[in-house]
């Protein structure tokens, strides 16, 4: 069980209220004890040591911390960890299997969809939410779906290409 009583809090003192929560992350059932003010992004990164989820702006703008909550893209810096009790979380670590990259990851490699890579996990999770719902998106659909995710390097062109590449791969896998 993961225990994360508090943020690294300079004002930590007295009785810290702790809640026990159960959730699924990348298919694995987990239990954690968390302080209510713990952010989901911090539970994922510091509590579960899944550091693929990045915190960029920490102000709900950049989308680097995007994860899927019950299949929907959410900014994990803007949710309380305690709110995931009973819910399902997917992070970028859940994309690949032991032997194979996810088509989105392949797409980002094939189309050079990243430079520094900081925004990439958020981009991939936002893209996954899109492709789960819309297997055959237009370029416009992709740009729209990723409009809550900021990239400071690429100019987005190759990110969009990467997602379209993944969509095509996933469709061809589905018809095989």
């Amino acid at each position: 069980m993961t225990t994360l009583y508090s943020e690294p809090a300079p004002d930590a003192a007295g009785d810290v209220p702790v809640r026990r929560i159960s959730f699924t992350i990348n298919g694995e059932k987990k239990t954690a004890e968390v302080e209510p003010r713990l952010l989901l992004a911090h539970l994922i990164r510091y509590g579960l040591r899944l550091t693929g989820t990045h915190t960029g702006c920490d102000t709900t703008n950049c989308g680097a911390c995007t994860v899927l909550l019950d299949g929907k893209a959410v900014k994990s810096c803007t949710m309380l960890a305690v709110q995931t009790d009973g819910h399902d979380i997917q992070t970028v670590e859940g994309l690949a299997t032991a032997s194979e990259l996810h088509p989105l990851q392949e797409g980002f490699r094939e189309e050079h969809g990243l430079q520094c890579g900081f925004c990439t996990p958020g981009m991939m999770m936002a893209a996954k939410a899109l492709l789960d719902r819309t297997p055959d998106p237009t370029e416009e659909d992709v740009r729209w779906a990723l409009s809550g995710n900021l990239c400071r390097c690429t100019g987005y062109q190759n990110i969009v290409k990467s997602v379209l590449w993944a969509a095509a791969k996933l469709r061809s896998q589905a018809t095989e």
Binding site: R37, L39, D58, T59, G63, C77, M79, Q83, A126, G148
Partner: protein
């Protein structure tokens, strides 16, 4: 960044939520989508002692039209629910135009319309939309339910008329008397930014004649502005080049824009006029005349 310490409760019923709020007094906040509240708490602009998370309260995620035409949006109806709703697209043109323009797609998965209204951001898009439709917020507390017109609900920047033990349970749009038309246009520097200018126009028509109109402006004053004279000028006659031009000019005059990094006051006023004209020109039947 992380919020100050607080007590967290996630009741499974509205009655329980109201009881918790009563005990929490002024130091309690309701958490729905959290897309404004959590950032405020992280920045320590808000430091509630008690958070009442209503996400486990069943039956609040609806949006529906009653048999009499009243449209209701529950407190847990997310922006994305509205954005992807065929029912909204078919019945509420102003709201359907605004839904995809709220924040960004990921924030829209969590954030709620009712929460936006409660947050009372002077730059909020939904306040203008609901104001143009003469909507209300339904509050439920110990003393029962009451409807608060949106014009009275937002009492100042980030302030609303809710009593400490009240939960805003839904927003209500009154039934249209005639055929409903309208739109929302927003000028923003990038997705997710506050509106440089936002304009909501809602009209109802019977035959050619406009029977009711509402116009509200975002981002061009200290708070949402109801352009009442502009709206009144449209009522009682058909839409025409002249009536549209007059409403646009009156709406521009109602704006109180300030020059800032998003644009000059003159530019913003001009955009208010342009947006009013553009929305009204797209109302069926007016398109040819105003093109």
């Amino acid at each position: 960044m992380y919020p100050s310490r607080f007590r967290y409760e996630a009741p499974a019923s509205l009655a329980e939520a109201i009881a918790l709020l009563r005990d929490g007094g002024d130091y309690a906040k309701v958490l729905a989508g959290g897309q404004s509240l959590i950032p405020l708490m992280k920045l320590r602009f808000a430091a509630p002692e008690l958070i009442v998370d209503i996400n486990n309260v069943p039956g609040l995620d609806y949006h529906r039209t009653d048999p009499d035409g009243t449209f209701r949006i529950g407190a847990l109806c997310r922006h994305a629910d509205l954005e992807h709703s065929p029912h909204l697209a078919a019945t509420q043109p102003t709201m359907a135009a605004a839904a995809p323009l709220i924040a960004d797609p990921i924030v829209r998965n969590r954030g709620t319309l009712v929460g936006s209204l409660c947050h009372g951001d002077p730059q909020g898009d939904w306040a203008s939309v609901v104001l143009s439709l003469d909507g209300s917020v339904i509050a439920e507390g110990r003393a029962g339910r009451r409807a608060i017109r949106i014009a009275d609900f937002v009492t100042g920047p980030f302030e609303n008329a809710l009593l400490p033990d009240e939960v805003a349970v839904e927003a209500v749009i009154p039934p249209a008397v005639g055929r409903r038309a309208g739109g929302y246009l927003k000028l923003e520097r990038r997705v997710g930014d506050f509106a440089t200018v936002g304009v909501a126009v809602s009209v109802e028509t019977a035959g050619e004649v406009v029977t009711k109109a509402g116009i509200a402006l975002t981002g061009v004053g200290g708070s949402t502005i109801a352009a009442t004279e502009a709206a009144a000028s449209l009522a009682g006659r058909p839409l025409s080049d002249e009536s549209i031009a007059q409403a646009a000019s009156l709406a521009g005059a109602a704006a109180r824009p300030r020059t800032d990094h998003r644009g000059s006051a003159e530019y913003k006023r001009h955009m208010v006029e342009t947006f009013v004209r553009r929305i009204l020109s797209r109302v069926d039947g007016a398109a040819e005349r105003a093109a």
